[in-house]
């Protein structure tokens, strides 16, 4: 008789014998990243689910988190193409945050528990006071890329209709905004991947510029692996030999902040070596001449000197892409989170266009969206310059359409407001907002120059935070509103493919918490009247469909029923009889003339270059076990065990010079702040660069809030620092 195997995944026992059949639970999606892995969440009596073990062929059964009376079991879904049966540790353990432990369950007013009526009355009264003194723009709203489409939509509507403030933006500005801006100017539409994720496996070559999916969305790698097993080749551009780069056939390791030059160099070689798809360029694009002329100035030897990438490797990369029958170029935050992020993405799009990739089945350019609803979150009006349906707030026709759906006069809608960092930076200043309502974000950890942001938040007359855990930002709030999360509520999410998915309520929320829609309804009722602010997600979604109708991101043909029946629907989907649009650019691009546009761009150095005082580049990113600011994942034991603390990755040469031992404490000194971290010594990083993950307080005390002129993306990915041994 063998004893049951020791579980590495929490309180769970399994039998090595065939698992007993178990109720699959509710078919839904993961709470974390934009891959939105399909998972079944089963809530059952504690004993039953605990012993239940597994469903489906991996046999693995997931986290056992206890809600009020039930135990939650998570298993991966096989019918969702994005993960096809895979889950990373974050997904498996996601259930641990359900239930009462570590949750907020009571509103807090000025640090003291309060009833909901007291809390909402307080918020409404203080908002009125701020508005009376400072006008509508005295109150600001900050949203998040993790919010469902319904919440993002309702938040935008609440800001414009109830608060009548122009001051609304969201943390998605820190994620995909550069890629979005570049895709809009090239294709007239920004849909992260304009093709199903399953197309990846059929490609002959994929170039990933600044993405580390093996850590940020591990099941994504299954698609890359399938491609490579077919003989396709993977090229990764990253200053670090990341887990993803190590799986690549070719790794280009540029100096941080030089991706744009590298893309120009690749374009130069593609043109020089005859890989230009002239027929495609002639038939489907405009503007090649000028871009070609600017690429002429980026001969590979010049690019090598700027990027540190050997000419021979650039030539290899160009040849792999040029020889591929089907190829894709994907960008991630590494290319995008720069003060020249938009131009950098444009440079990669120019490369893709020269190769004739976008709008061709099996090929293309795509942005690998990061946050759970990073795609949907940027489409429905929580962005400073946008209205639902990916409409521009300064477009009179868009204003008229949306105002009609909202039953208001178009003239009442405010204009564009400040972008995310500019908004945070203005808080509490003479010209800036005095009150902030914050949903689904933790900027004290996640914003650049976070020390400055914390100082601005502290200067507010009123900070209201809705969250389900007491995040670092919630801890600063005057009023904290405990909300439901993920598996406790219904809603739609739009994943990295532009596929609209249904997240479904699988467990009962703990007593005392309310959904964000209900919170907004409660505030609307106190400030203006509850009309137009239903708390039921499906009702909000139906209104969103009408508001998005005719827009670029047209959801009007998408229903909850269709999503459930079809395992997601690709937008645009203009009517219920429309099949949705997996590949929107096959016939024409969404530009007025139907052609994709080459955009001339020029490389420029990082906003903050190294000098004698700060001789090293700092770049930031993620680790597998944590998500975003870590507000969720740092509260889960298994994830904390996997990645317990802030570290700084440095090259052995640098460590030797500074006499730093593995695990030793190091002070990272920048121009805006200082952070202490544990040294992790690795040859995977360039000797002139150090890396810090941003899931803990620290990295963003150092990052540079210099903004991209188009996307207003901060320069998270490169600033100058020095390292000192800590005492």
């Amino acid at each position: 008789m063998v004893k049951p195997p020791e579980s590495t995944i929490g309180r769970m026992t399994i039998s090595p014998a065939a698992p007993a059949p178990v109720r699959a639970g509710t078919a839904t999606h993961c709470p974390y990243c934009a891959l939105q892995c399909g998972m079944n969440v089963a809530a059952g009596a504690a004993g039953a689910a605990g012993a239940a073990g597994a469903v489906e062929d991996t046999g693995a059964a997931g986290t056992v988190g206890e809600t009020a009376e039930t135990t939650v079991t998570i298993t991966p879904r096989h019918d969702v193409p994005a993960n096809a049966g895979g889950l990373c540790q974050k997904g498996w353990t996601a259930g641990e945050l359900l239930g009462r432990d570590r949750r907020l369950t009571t509103p807090l007013v000025d640090g003291r528990p309060a009833t909901w009526d007291e809390a909402l009355d307080t918020v409404a009264a203080r908002i009125r006071a701020v508005r009376a003194e400072h006008g509508p723009d005295g109150v600001a709203v900050f949203g998040g890329g993790g919010l469902t489409n319904e919440k993002a939509y309702q938040l935008g509507k609440f800001a414009r209709v109830v608060l009548r403030t122009s001051q609304i933006d969201y943390n998605g500005r820190f994620c995909m905004s550069s890629a979005a801006a570049a895709a809009n100017r090239a294709f007239g539409m920004d849909r992260g991947l304009p093709f199903p994720i399953t197309d990846l496996a059929g490609a002959d070559a994929i170039l990933v510029a600044g993405g580390n999916m093996a850590e940020t969305m591990p099941p994504f790698v299954r698609h890359l692996t399938a491609m490579r097993e077919r003989g396709g080749r993977l090229i990764v551009i990253d200053p670090r030999a990341t887990a993803t780069a190590r799986r690549a056939d070719l790794h280009l390791q540029p100096v941080p902040g030089t991706d744009l030059a590298l893309a120009m160099g690749l374009l130069h070689i593609v043109i020089a070596e005859g890989h230009l798809d002239e027929a495609y360029v002639a038939a489907r694009t405009t503007g090649f001449e000028r871009v070609s002329a600017s690429a002429a100035a980026w001969w590979p030897e010049r690019v090598e000197r700027i990027t540190g990438v050997p000419v021979a490797r650039m030539r290899q990369a160009a040849a792999i892409l040029g020889d591929a029958r089907r190829a894709m170029i994907l960008t991630g935050r590494g290319a995008e989170q720069h003060a020249k992020g938009t131009d950098t993405v444009s440079a990669f799009i120019n490369l893709a266009l020269a190769l004739g990739l976008p709008g061709r089945e099996g090929s293309g350019y795509g942005c690998v969206t990061g946050q759970g609803n990073g795609q949907g979150g940027r489409e429905h009006g929580q962005k400073a310059d946008q209205l639902p349906g990916y409409r521009r707030i300064d477009d009179p026709a868009a204003r008229a359409h949306v105002a009609a759906v909202w039953g208001v006069d178009p003239g009442e809608l405010p204009g564009p407001g400040r972008s995310a960092y500019e908004l945070l930076d203005a808080l509490g200043t003479a010209a800036g907002p005095r009150a902030l309502l914050l949903f689904g974000s933790n900027p004290v950890i996640s914003a650049p120059d976070a020390g400055r942001v914390a100082e601005r938040l502290a200067s507010l007359d009123l900070l209201v935070v809705s969250d389900f855990v007491l995040s670092e930002t919630a801890a600063m709030a005057d009023v904290v509103l405990p909300s439901t999360q993920w598996a406790e509520e219904d809603g739609t999410m739009t994943n990295l493919e532009g596929r609209v998915l249904l997240r479904r309520r699988a467990v009962a929320p703990p007593p005392g918490v309310r959904g964000d829609l209900e919170i907004l309804r409660g505030l609307a009722a106190r400030l203006r009247g509850p009309e137009g602010f239903p708390a039921e997600p499906r009702e909000v979604f139906d209104e969103l469909r009408r508001a998005s109708a005719g827009g670029i991101a047209d959801y009007s043909g998408i229903t909850y029923e269709r999503i459930a029946a079809e395992t997601g629907v690709f937008w645009p989907c203009p009517d219920t009889g429309h099949p949705g649009t997996p590949r929107p650019f096959l016939d024409r691009f969404a530009t007025p003339d139907g052609r994709a546009r080459f955009t001339p761009v020029e490389h420029r150095p990082p906003e903050e270059d190294v000098d004698d005082d700060h001789p090293l580049y700092l770049t930031t990113g993620r680790v597998l076990a944590h998500y975003q600011s870590g507000a969720q994942t740092r509260r889960i034991a298994a994830l904390n065990e996997a990645a317990p603390e802030l570290f700084v990755e440095l090259h052995p040469d640098l460590a030797e010079r500074l006499e730093v031992e593995p695990g030793g404490r190091v002070r990272v000194v920048g121009r805006r702040g200082t952070a202490e971290a544990v040294a992790r010594i690795s040859p995977a990083i360039r000797p002139d660069t150090v890396f810090m993950p941003f899931h803990w307080a620290g990295a963003n005390l150092l990052t540079n809030p210099a903004l991209d002129p188009v996307s207003r993306m901060p320069e998270f990915k490169v600033c100058a620092v020095r390292l000192e041994r800590a005492a």
Partner: protein, 497 residues
């Protein structure tokens, strides 16, 4: 409104114009160019010669750009004089163009040595030269390139790549002697020989004939053995003609290309009374003695140095653009570090800094492997990289160039710099030999020890291990490793898998 006049529309002038326009949309700009066509990228002419780029691909700014950016471009209009008193330039056609700021970017011209018959040869400097060479190469049977500096090597390699037998004649004892030490020059010559370029060093050219080049008697080395072996059309059929004086040798060729260096074009400045040494003398603002007149690029001499590469010219253009538009009044040019990067298909060469220092003067790290065309040398002083030669393909080139450019401290292990792979740490060990603490499944944080204890509890295949540990359920990449560990454990215990 400031009136900016730029004389010269080559690499420096064209760059300056676009840099100024990027900073200031209003300033009035007039640019004169000696050549009639669109400005082109001279650094890439070797590629045009080699046939790896078309002339169209090396053009920089098009007519439309000038129109869109309100820049008056006057290609082919020669400026003949500067009237500094009146602040005007005069053209050959009698035009007087007033300026507030004048930038001279007149570049340099090819040196044509005073040889009898020099008019029979073609220099290699301009797009026009390039086109002439290509036209001749179409019918030529043999070519000679005179001058084994950077440009001569590129030209010879380019012509050989077109299938033309080429002999490269060089006065000095080894190729690219300004950038390379003798051994590197030798290895480079051998690499070129392998690509069909016959190398003759230490030779003096006496005369250029209709059918070849006459060498001075008794000069030069015989073609290297490697060259002779790899070049089937070597000296045997092409070589020593007997038509000249006794002891003199004629190298046959119906195309002779001169790559004998360049000299700065300074006449305008000199005539206008500006200080000229080798080039037009400028200060750290790239200003001549006349505060309204700047000079940049190959015609300028800064701190005693005339730069012949693109990078310094562009750095100078940026400084002048900053000053002229008042974008950054503190902008100064402080000299450039020079990295020479050969553009010759099949030969990777980067050379930088003080490559000629000896062991007495500096710390030298050297690796040589002639059979593979590899030669690598680092020159280190005070712990900083002050020079390097990297011949033959190596990924080290990116890091070494950055260290040279930025003067960063070097690792104690110098060899790791030359062989980046060695410093990269051992490859992942086989899953069987890895310690129990090693993480096998990254996505779900599963160690080998956990898989072992799971196996000991009865899990006998990947599915059972996955059920217990979730290993393999993330990205799926560790499946083989888990299979290997389970199989090995079964084997050890004699359990059939």
């Amino acid at each position: 409104m400031t009136r900016l006049v730029v004389v010269g529309n080559g690499m420096a002038g064209a760059r300056l114009v676009s840099e100024v326009r990027a900073r200031d949309p209003h300033i009035r700009i007039t640019v004169f160019g000696a050549e009639t066509g669109r400005p082109y990228n001279r650094a890439l002419l070797s590629n045009v010669l080699a046939g790896t780029m078309t002339p169209g691909q090396v053009r920089m700014l098009d007519a439309e750009w000038y129109a869109d950016h309100a820049v008056t471009a006057l290609p082919g209009v020669e400026v003949t004089a500067i009237d500094r008193e009146a602040q005007e330039v005069l053209t050959a056609c009698g035009r007087r163009e007033p300026y507030d700021v004048l930038v001279l970017a007149t570049g340099s011209e090819a040196v044509v040595p005073p040889l009898p018959g020099a008019e029979r040869a073609v220099a290699f400097r301009t797009m026009g030269d390039c086109e002439a060479i290509l036209a001749a190469a179409g019918t030529a049977r043999r070519a000679v390139v005179v001058g084994g500096g950077l440009l001569g090597v590129e030209a010879a390699r380019g012509l050989a790549g077109r299938g033309l037998p080429v002999t490269l004649l060089h006065l000095a004892g080894h190729l690219m002697e300004r950038q390379l030490d003798a051994e590197a020059g030798l290895v480079l010559g051998e690499s070129l020989a392998g690509l069909g370029v016959e190398i003759r060093t230490g030779v003096t050219v006496r005369e250029i004939l209709d059918d070849g080049v006459r060498l001075a008697a008794g000069t030069g080395t015989a073609p290297g053995t490697a060259g002779a072996a790899a070049s089937p059309s070597g000296t045997g059929e092409s070589g020593a003609g007997e038509s000249g004086a006794v002891g003199e040798e004629v190298v046959e060729a119906d195309l002779v290309v001169l790559a004998c260096g360049v000299r700065p074009v300074t006449r305008l400045a000199r005539d206008a009374g500006l200080a000229v040494a080798r080039g037009i003398v400028v200060d750290d603002e790239m200003r001549t003695g006349d505060p309204s007149v700047f000079a940049i690029g190959e015609c300028a001499e800064h701190d005693g140095v005339v730069y012949g590469l693109v990078a310094p010219a562009w750095e100078q253009a940026a400084v002048v653009a900053d000053l002229v538009t008042a974008t950054d009044k503190t902008a100064r040019y402080r000299g450039s570090r020079l990295v020479t990067r050969l553009k010759a298909r099949g030969v990777e060469l980067a050379a930088m800094g003080e490559t000629h220092l000896t062991e007495d003067e500096a710390e030298i790290v050297r690796f040589s492997h002639r059979a593979r065309g590899a030669y690598r040398k680092l020159v280190i002083r005070d712990g900083r990289l002050v020079g390097a030669i990297l011949l033959g393909e190596t990924p080290a080139v990116g890091t070494v160039t950055r260290l040279f450019d930025h003067g960063g401290p070097l690792p104690a292990d110098r060899a790791g710099l030359l062989f980046p792979g060695l410093a990269g740490g051992a490859a992942a060990d086989s899953p069987v030999r890895m310690p129990d603490a090693a993480r096998v499944c990254q996505c779900n944080n599963v160690t080998k020890g956990q898989i072992r204890s799971c196996w000991e509890s009865g899990a006998r295949d990947v599915a059972a291990v996955a059920a217990a540990t979730r290993a393999t359920t993330g990205c799926g990449s560790c499946r083989d490793a888990v299979e290997g560990i389970v199989g090995w454990l079964c084997e050890q215990e004699g359990i059939p898998v």
